[in-house]
């Protein structure tokens, strides 16, 4: 954690130089440093989850045993799911980029509770360590969903993972509380609610979900733990309990959790699509209200995970309609992004390439989501690779593309250096195509009837599995290139300057990298963000002073 830094374009040291030494990082309360620390740990988690993803793809090259046995496979997909969902995707964009940017984007010096912010980081690290220790030591084989009664009867030691995810949940809640309070109380003069940058709106919506849904997950995990320790019986039919209660409570959290993963990504896209179209958002209020809508309607759709689990037909129908409603908000965003590009001045940069990939892949991910929310179609697709492909389109095709877009868009802001642009665009194209090659065959596998979480499969499914594995290797190669050139750029990239993209986003009014307290003087924001019709009106007052 000692990158060499470009000279900041303004006066005074940047947040990277304000203090030196590892200790100053570990005890920092600077939201930017905490964001960077989160980013570092998250990338490690992504690497771990990705390695296991590749291992799974290799195992599925042939029917029967390829490189690992069935138990090893069951454990491997559990590691992949647990690490990617709980330790990477859910915290990813909010904790790394949200922490770094949220105060900058509303003109604040820091988040509302800086110490709580650092506590959130350490809770996350503690939870991650417990979870990883649990999955490796205990060899947990339940999948990331911990469905009862399997999770209560399996011989593997599930407890440490349950506790680890519980602790990570605490970290999520603290970050959520912090963000909501920050947005409410620390907006700079001039930043009214309808002038809040769209990424901040997305973080705000995400935080509401995090705060309201995560406690439910925490309690459910504790009940599963109790079931294992004391045979509580609440989810155990042989003691009069109801295994479906777990599914209801679990999805009450975990469906909104999908929006925890994808809403911040949508916020990133709303920002970048404006920045690289040099245009105001086509409809600011549509994006804002659809964000708020997703945050609330997302809580009412959990039952669509349970169409074939013995839920009443009436319940299934109701949840189906509610799921259609929540899909509309995504559709509205897609049209608005396209409208923003219309008659803009498009600059095809690395982040923008990811943006284009995001919009296209999110469309297919969303539509396949609508498809599985259709009750009769779900009779066929439920728990098959169609669903696997669907949620990877959302989580990788959308969330991860947005993560990469954010990484490339704000990289110069975070470390003050640029990366090789041509390399970036080429790799982005490679990653998008690698992604399609990996997951398009999985849709077809689902059609063909391949259920998920299968270590072994009938031979008829093999050709599509081979295609998918080939795509996955392309995808993995793409990530490798990104890691190499970004790592290189940390030291050797050319200095970025204050605003390399010529963006009108609030965060670019500050230096790159920003000074310790974000702005040299209290900023004033008379115009909305991304007001390209009136460039340069928002400034840091007395910047030159």
């Amino acid at each position: 954690m000692a990158p060499s830094h470009a000279e900041p374009s303004g006066a005074g040291p940047s947040y990277l130089d304000a203090e030196r030494g590892l200790w100053s990082w570990l005890t920092t309360r600077d939201h930017k440093r905490i964001g960077v620390m989160f980013l570092a740990v998250l990338l490690l988690m992504f690497l771990l989850g990705g390695v296991f993803a590749l291992a799974l793809r290799v195992e599925l090259l042939t029917p029967g045993e390829t490189v690992m046995g069935r138990l090893a496979y069951n454990r491997a997909f559990t590691v992949h799911g647990v690490v990617m969902v709980w330790l990477f995707l859910i915290p990813s964009i909010p904790t790394a980029f949200g922490n770094f940017l949220l105060p900058l984007m509303i003109g604040a010096r820091d988040v509302a509770f800086p110490r709580l912010n650092l506590a959130s980081f350490y809770l996350y690290v503690l939870g991650a360590v417990m979870t990883l220790w649990g999955v490796f030591q205990g060899g947990v084989d339940t999948g990331w969903t911990f469905y009862t009664p399997y999770s209560t009867v399996t011989g593997r030691e599930v407890m440490p993972v349950l506790l680890g995810v519980f602790v990570v949940g605490f970290s999520t809640i603290l970050t959520g509380i912090n963000f909501i309070t920050t947005v409410h109380t620390l907006r700079a003069p001039g930043v009214t609610w309808m002038k809040v940058p769209l990424f901040v709106w997305a973080l705000y919506g995400t935080s509401i979900i995090q705060v309201l849904a995560t406690p439910v997950l925490g309690m459910v995990l504790m009940l599963v733990a109790l079931e294992r320790v004391a045979g509580a019986g609440l989810f155990d039919p042989s003691r009069g309990g109801d295994p479906l209660l777990f599914q209801h409570l679990f999805w009450f959290y975990s469906h909104p959790a999908v929006y925890i993963m994808v809403l911040p990504g949508m916020g990133v896209i709303s920002e970048t699509v404006c920045a690289f179209s040099r245009k105001r958002p086509f409809s600011y209020r549509v994006i804002v209200w659809s964000t708020v809508g997703i945050s609330f309607v997302g809580f009412l759709t959990w039952g669509h995970h349970m169409f074939v689990s013995g839920q009443s037909t009436f319940g299934a129908g109701a949840f189906s309609v509610l799921s259609m409603l929540v899909a509309i908000f995504t559709a509205m965003k897609i049209f608005t992004w396209l409208g923003t590009m219309y008659r803009g001045s498009l600059w095809v940069s690395t982040p923008f390439t990811y943006v284009l990939g995001f919009i296209f892949l999110l469309f297919f991910g969303g539509m396949s989501g609508v498809a599985v929310a259709v009750t009769s179609a779900d009779l066929h697709w439920h728990d098959t690779y169609f669903v696997v492909a669907h949620f990877h389109f959302i989580m990788v095709g959308a969330s991860l593309m947005a993560f990469l877009a954010a990484l490339h868009y704000w990289f110069p802001k975070m470390c003050g250096r640029m990366y090789p642009e041509g390399m970036g665009i080429g790799t982005a194209v490679l990653i998008i195509f690698g992604f399609i090659a990996t997951f398009l065959p999985q849709f077809l596998l689902g059609n063909q009837g391949m259920p998920r979480r299968y270590a072994d499969y009938p031979e008829a499914f093999q050709p599509l599995h081979v295609a998918s594995t080939a795509g996955a290797s392309l995808l993995g190669f793409g990530f490798l290139i990104v890691a190499v050139y970004l790592g290189w750029s940390l030291r050797h990239g050319r200095a970025a300057g204050r605003n390399p993209w010529g963006s009108e986003g609030y965060e670019w009014l500050s230096d790159s990298p920003p000074p310790e307290f974000n702005f040299h003087a209290p900023p004033r924001f008379p115009r909305p963000p991304h007001d390209y019709a009136n460039p340069g009106v928002n400034t840091e007052v007395e910047h030159a002073a």
Binding site: I173, I177, L212, P215
Partner: protein, 216 residues
């Protein structure tokens, strides 16, 4: 705050709110959101209670007969009184009477501890009866199907609540000591208010547990 070497005078980070009033607002808002998460935490247990009450209506109707309604009601009384004392303590500190505030906080701590002792007495009785949660349930006087679930819920709900009381007692002790040390006064007393809010929430949750588990 710790950075004398900065090239320009830097305001302490805590002052990034601009003034004390908005800083208090932020603290209160944060606390309210936290209380919302607590409500959702318990909502899981209330949901489970509702489901099993619908599934085993007879058991849940007969169960209060096996509870110690007197001790439960006494505990309600204890907790409500301590909540009132905390409210009075907040009032006292707002008016600058910090010794009175500390005394009131100390009293409510005592009541909180009394609550835990009474609860422990109840638990002892249940253990003696064999009315233990889950697999250990062996209460022969109440062996209907579903009775084990009632007692599992009873233990989990009151147990989680008792943990909250324990945390609350710790918070109140800290606050009382810091008030005695003169850290809070009429000008600055946000932590006392926040601690009070938490204690009231613990009280309110009990006001839902008490009728559900002892009275109906």
């Amino acid at each position: 705050m710790r950075r004398e070497a900065s090239p320009r005078p830097v305001e302490p980070r805590a002052l990034h709110f601009g003034d004390e009033a908005s800083r208090q607002d932020a603290a209160h808002l944060g606390m309210w959101i936290f209380l919302a998460t607590e409500v959702l935490l318990f909502s899981v247990l209330f949901t489970a209670y509702a489901l099993y009450r619908l599934t085993y209506p007879g058991v849940f109707q007969q169960a209060p007969a096996h509870m110690d309604v007197f001790l439960g009601t006494l505990n309600t009384f204890v907790l409500v009184v301590s909540s009132i004392l905390v409210a009075l303590a907040v009032d006292a500190i707002r008016n600058g009477r910090d010794f009175a505030a500390a005394a009131l906080l100390a009293l409510s701590v005592l009541l909180g501890i009394a609550f835990l002792f009474i609860k422990a007495a109840e638990y002892t009785k249940h253990v003696h009866d064999g009315a233990l949660p889950g697999a250990w349930y062996a209460y022969e006087a109440f062996a209907l199907p579903g009775a084990n679930l009632y007692f599992t819920l009873y233990w989990v709900m009151t147990g989680v609540h008792a943990v909250h009381v324990l945390v609350g007692v710790g918070v109140l002790v800290t606050l009382a000591l810091r008030t005695l040390a003169g850290e809070f006064g009429a000008r600055f007393h946000t932590p006392v208010e926040l601690g009070g809010m938490y204690w009231h929430l613990v009280d309110v949750i009990w006001l839902f547990l008490w009728p559900l588990l002892y009275l109906t």
